[in-house]
């Protein structure tokens, strides 16, 4: 386990983020332990008060109770044949239980995840700073916001906070599931630490930012457990639709009774259908499939987001991500590899490449930035110049400052500088040097191709230019292409000048870019998009991203980011992978598609059930209606029973689909609709016919009806 404080080589790290680290905590769909838990829970959920929030299943429960009551009455009245009503009652209760099971299963998966997290929440002790230089040991649960604690190697960080002093490597695997340690340091965008994580090296002072019970971990547990689950807008709308359908079918079935009375009286044959049969028809017609699976779909959607190591603060945010029209992507680290790399030395007239490389390498020796290191590496590669130990020389390093926009070294009497072209021109001019003829030309040439020119000077002499280039991540173009197919516009945010930005935007294939972007520019861009009716998603990590994260419809904060950013966004990516947004969008869409698909399936199922039950109901009154019995079900009782059994079993059969979500592939809306209509529309229409037929035969074989 590395304990050094240096960051790993940049490109390796960046390449890693392209590999989706999902399923870190993925569970098998049917873990026996979870199954058991869900089974128990499905009985607890029979409580009518809790079922009331699911109108469709509640109606089934009422129907089951009614049927059972009539059956019991029949037993007491000594009616001989209760086999049929007994079976109907049982299957109606199964229908309720199966629907409960689907929800319980989804919840159990969340709870299992919460249990893992809760283990991390061992009550650790904290060293609280009482006054400068004096500390006391207190229980972590006693810490309040603004307390300052000291954490050393091996300590569990007692609460969420911000590093105010020092730098340390921290193991955040409890939260992220990622075993590689991360750096946390004071100031800048990597200052946030999370309670429950473990310090692996060095010592830091942390200012606690949350009160007891409100830590990140607490919130996360509550979220995955589903305790804070609120229905999302689309889910509510869909609930209204299926409740409306339920009401329509209630009308159709309730009025069928008087219609049947009329029919029986005028035909002088047969009897009015019994309560058990009418309830069966009702239960078969109301959309029990989607009604039973709706909340499971929502919970499972959140769970899938979690498995992608993203912590969504609400289901609404996940759903909104499916609606996103515009994706703001930071150039650095998202579209391009984290940092610019030196790719070429371009000496001015009269200077050799080796001289330029030598000077550039010397000037970069003390430069720990990735650009600086890439210059050292390039010089070594192209001119076999080894990185020298600067301590052998009398060297004075000049750090980069925003004022001079240069850095470099004074070594052996030479003043080596590298920096922005205009800064170097100014530097050389002040030393009385002249600017070589092709210098500006070289510099502009690089700018035009989207590179960054880094000028190098030795005192009054301009040596040439190092070409720094952004490397667009492999596969980025294809992903952005997919986004476009889904109707999502990608916008690159960069601090570069428009020329550079345009070149990279072109190379990466983004639809638009925002160059020289300040936090305010970002904010304005988001507001402009929103005013035009678009939904905007963005990622961010810095404190200055916080307002934009809050403004965006979907704001994904990086876990490495500051607390302010995390608070502002509505999701936190524990892997701190900015391209994750694309996966989140896919999950959001999948969630909606699954709901729509199962609703369509559920409603179209009804056609077959009419063909099974209606002729059975009036078999004695209107034998002519047996023409509608196109499945040739062998007896009226068996027909009704087969439809009810199919209706119950289909819920269980579709639980895996509800939990996994229907297959999603980025494509245009029309293509996607056509595909789903074929599968779930036509499938929902046709599938029940053979199934009901088979159940009917089976019932016949077993002499059950």
């Amino acid at each position: 386990m590395p304990t050094t404080t240096s960051t790993p080589p940049p490109h390796l790290d960046d390449l890693m983020t392209l590999v989706p680290k999902k399923m870190v905590r993925a569970r098998p769909l049917f873990d026996p332990h979870l199954m058991w838990r869900a089974t128990r829970e499905s009985f607890v959920k029979l409580n009518p008060l809790t079922l009331l929030k699911n109108p469709v299943i509640f109606v089934v429960e009422v129907g089951a109770t009614l049927t059972s009551a009539f059956m019991i009455r029949d037993i007491f009245m000594g009616r001989p044949d209760i086999s049929f009503s007994l079976q109907i009652s049982l299957w109606l209760w199964f229908t309720v239980l199966f629907a409960n099971f689907a929800e319980a299963m989804a919840e159990a998966r969340g709870k299992a995840q919460a249990d893992t997290l809760r283990k991390a929440k061992t009550d650790s002790m904290a060293r609280r700073v009482v006054s400068p230089g004096k500390t006391e040991i207190v229980s972590a649960s006693k810490l309040c916001a603004q307390d300052v604690v000291i954490c050393e190697v091996g300590d569990i960080i007692p609460g969420d906070g911000e590093v105010i002093e020092g730098i340390a490597t921290v193991d955040e695997s409890v939260i992220t599931g990622e075993s590689a340690p991360v750096i946390r340091e004071s100031g800048g965008d990597r200052s946030a630490v999370t309670g429950g994580t473990k310090v692996l090296s060095d010592q830091i002072r942390v200012r606690i930012t949350s009160n007891p019970g409100e830590t990140f971990l607490d919130r996360m547990i509550a979220l995955v457990e589903g305790a804070e689950r609120q229905k999302t807008p689309n889910e509510i709308a869909l609930n209204i639709l299926i409740a409306g359908m339920t009401l329509i079918f209630l009308l159709a079935v309730v009025t069928l009774q008087p219609f049947a009375v009329y029919a029986v009286n005028s035909a002088h044959a047969g009897t009015v259908p019994s309560v058990a049969v009418l309830v069966s028809l009702l239960v078969c017609l109301i959309p029990t499939t989607i009604g039973g699976l709706l909340s499971a779909i929502g919970i499972a959607g959140m769970d899938r987001v979690m498995q992608d190591n993203v912590l969504a603060m609400s289901g609404k945010a996940v759903e909104a991500s499916g609606d996103v029209n515009t994706l703001l992507l930071d150039k650095t680290g998202t579209i391009t590899l984290g940092n610019r790399q030196a790719v070429e030395f371009l000496p001015v007239e009269g200077v050799t490449g080796a001289d330029l490389a030598d000077a550039a390498q010397l000037a970069s020796l003390a430069d720990e930035t990735p650009e600086g290191r890439s210059i050292v590496v390039l010089a070594k590669k192209e001119y076999s110049l080894r990185g020298r130990e600067v301590s052998e020389h009398e060297a004075h390093f000049i750090p980069f400052s925003a004022y001079t926009r240069m850095s470099g070294v004074d070594i052996d009497g030479r003043a080596l500088r590298k920096g922005a072209t205009d800064a170097i021109i100014q530097f050389v001019s002040e030393k009385g040097g002249s600017i070589p003829a092709n210098f500006i030309e070289l510099s502009d040439g690089i700018s035009r191709t989207g590179g960054t020119p880094l000028a190098v000077a030795d005192g009054h002499r301009v040596l040439g230019i190092v070409h720094l280039k952004d490397i667009v991540k492999g596969g980025m173009k294809e992903r952005l292409q997919q986004l476009r197919a889904m109707g999502i516009r990608s916008v690159m945010i960069t601090g570069d000048n428009p020329l550079t930005a345009a070149a990279i935007a072109n190379e990466a294939g983004v639809d638009d870019f925002l160059a020289q972007a300040t936090p305010k520019d970002k904010m304005d861009y988001i507001k402009k998009e929103q005013a035009e009716g678009r939904l905007v998603a963005m990622t961010g990590d810095g404190t200055n991203d916080a307002p934009a994260l809050a403004q965006a419809d979907v704001g994904v904060a990086m876990n490495t980011g500051t607390m302010a950013a995390k608070e502002a966004g509505n999701m936190v990516d524990l892997d701190s992978n900015p391209t994750k947004l694309i996966e989140i969008v896919a999950i959001g869409k999948q969630l909606l598609i699954t709901r729509g698909a199962l609703t369509t399936f559920s409603i179209l199922n009804d056609v077959s059930k009419y063909f099974a039950i209606i002729p059975a109901m009036f078999a004695a009154t209107y034998p002519e209606l047996n023409k509608l019995n196109i499945m040739h079900l062998h007896s009226p009782q068996s027909a009704v029973l087969a439809a009810v059994i199919f209706n119950a079993l289909i819920i269980i059969a579709l639980v895996p689909l509800a939990l996994r979500g229907v297959r999603y592939k980025p494509q245009s809306a029309a293509a996607m609709l056509r595909r789903n209509l074929w599968i779930y529309g036509l499938g929902g229409f046709i599938a029940p016919f053979p199934c009901i037929y088979l159940i009917d035969r089976l019932l016949g074989l077993l002499h059950l009806a």
């Binding site: 869909l238 159709a252 005028s266 999502i488 996607m672």
Partner: protein
Amino acid sequence: MTMQGFAYIVVFFLILLALTKPLGLFMAHVFEGRRTYLHPILRPLEVLVYKFCGIRETSEQRWTQYSASVIAFSLVSFLFVYAIQRLQGFLPLNPMHFSTGRAPGYATPMTPDLAFNTAVSFVTNTNWQAYGGEQTLSYFVQMAALTVQNFLSAAAGIAVLIALIRGFVRKETNTIGNFWVDATRATVYVLLPLALVFALFLCFRGVPQTLKSYQQAATLEGKTQTIAMGPVAGQESIKMLGTNGGGFFNANSAHPYENPTPLTNFLEVLSLIIIASGLTYTFGKMVGDTRQGWALFSAMAFLFFVGVFICYHSEHAGNPILARLGVDTAATATQPGGNMEGKDVRLGIPGSALFATATTDASCGAVNSMHDSYTPLGGFIPMFNLQTDEVIFGGVGSGLYGMLLYAIVGVFIAGLMVGRTPEYLGKKIEQKEVKMAMVAVIATAFSILVFAAICAVVPFAKNGYWNPPGPAIANLGNPGAHGFSELLYTFSSASENNGSAFSGININTPWYNLTTALAMLIGRFGFILPTLAIAGSLACKKKVPTTSGTLPTHGALFVGLLVGVVVVIGALTFFPALSLGPLVEHFFMHEGKLISAIIIRTVGV
């Protein structure tokens, strides 16, 4: 089907198609407040109406105010129509002296419940007639009350549609136009000119327009016959154009004075559907994408064709029981063949089947043949048209707003399947829209099923006040499944504001007058208020820009989806009821069985 009959229907459709765009474009201009070629003549009239009624042309209403205006307008109209009917004995233009001591022996008394039913009926654009016009109403009532309502209730329907369209067009505002202005424009620029031209044409083809009293004629047998007449043409033209359907005479468009020739028949069908058809184009034009209008038109046209051909085929095929008895029911040069019962030989089977389908596609309700006498399947089509909320072209305005509500439901389910919050025409379809669309669908289903169910079992004392014939089913003209069809059709027609009848049933009793009037009110306002609520909600929303991730609503896929939603929701709601009516009757007929009080199993063959 004969080639001739097939061509008749296709030619009809082609003419309809050709007229849709010009009329639709004209109406779009009218409702967007632009100048049209009729403005030089009619603008002064429009301004006069505003001045007279104190309407400010530029003021805007929220959906609640718009709804309140519709209700207030309907309420005042109702009181006016009710009062005129009750007072007709004291009013002028009553040559037959109805509601006076000198009324002829055949006159139907204008009881409070009949006047109530008729007033509700004409105000809700239903035009259900529990009376026979020539036996009950004075010319004054026909003209001042009923004909006026034919214009106004139609204009109100168009206005509501225009308000809904504005909901789609406008963004981030809480107003949806002005009811009074919309209704005035619909009357002045659309209904009046068309009705005037059509009325003149009808006069030219022999429809009377006179204030003379009924004529006595001597028949060949030497008896005297009373020939009813009156100001028919004026009422006839708007009865069709405004999808009202309330005939001047009891026989409606089967009466030679309402519909004298095959040509007038053809034009009457065309006129009852033309405005609704044109409005699909108006819709497309106003939302800025005519393809959207054509998509709705296509869905309607598809359903229209399916319905008309099933109906025509079924009527043409005739009754197999008669065929088995040796009756020649084949079409030949000298006889139309098929099922001619209840149809006029002038109009023939295609002319009748087309009329029956169109009048129930639209919420017209005029009839030129007796739907009660159709074959089970032929009669099933008009009934199912009613039960799918008359969205196949539909009533003027009401058909399209009904279809748009179905589109909202369809888009909501399908929209989810493309992985986005569903959108229609750039407006997100959310809780409120779904809720209101469901309220509308449930309201009519409730009204049809619950009233029919009550009537199927409710007992009344014979010769009592509420229903003198006895139990509610005693009013049915036929026993068994056919009687049930009559009952179901009655409340489908009332709830959907159609007004046609499976004529076997006698409903002029306080019980039926009251329940059907209630059904008409539920059907009218249970649909209009949710529609306006949706309009208000949509107008407040932003417009979401279209991307490749947006569900396209102008292609064949959407048309198919819409057709599916209409048929599936209608079928799922009414399948049990329909199976006990036309479906079982159909099976009976094909098994050679008849239904009577005691079922006679198989008739000797």
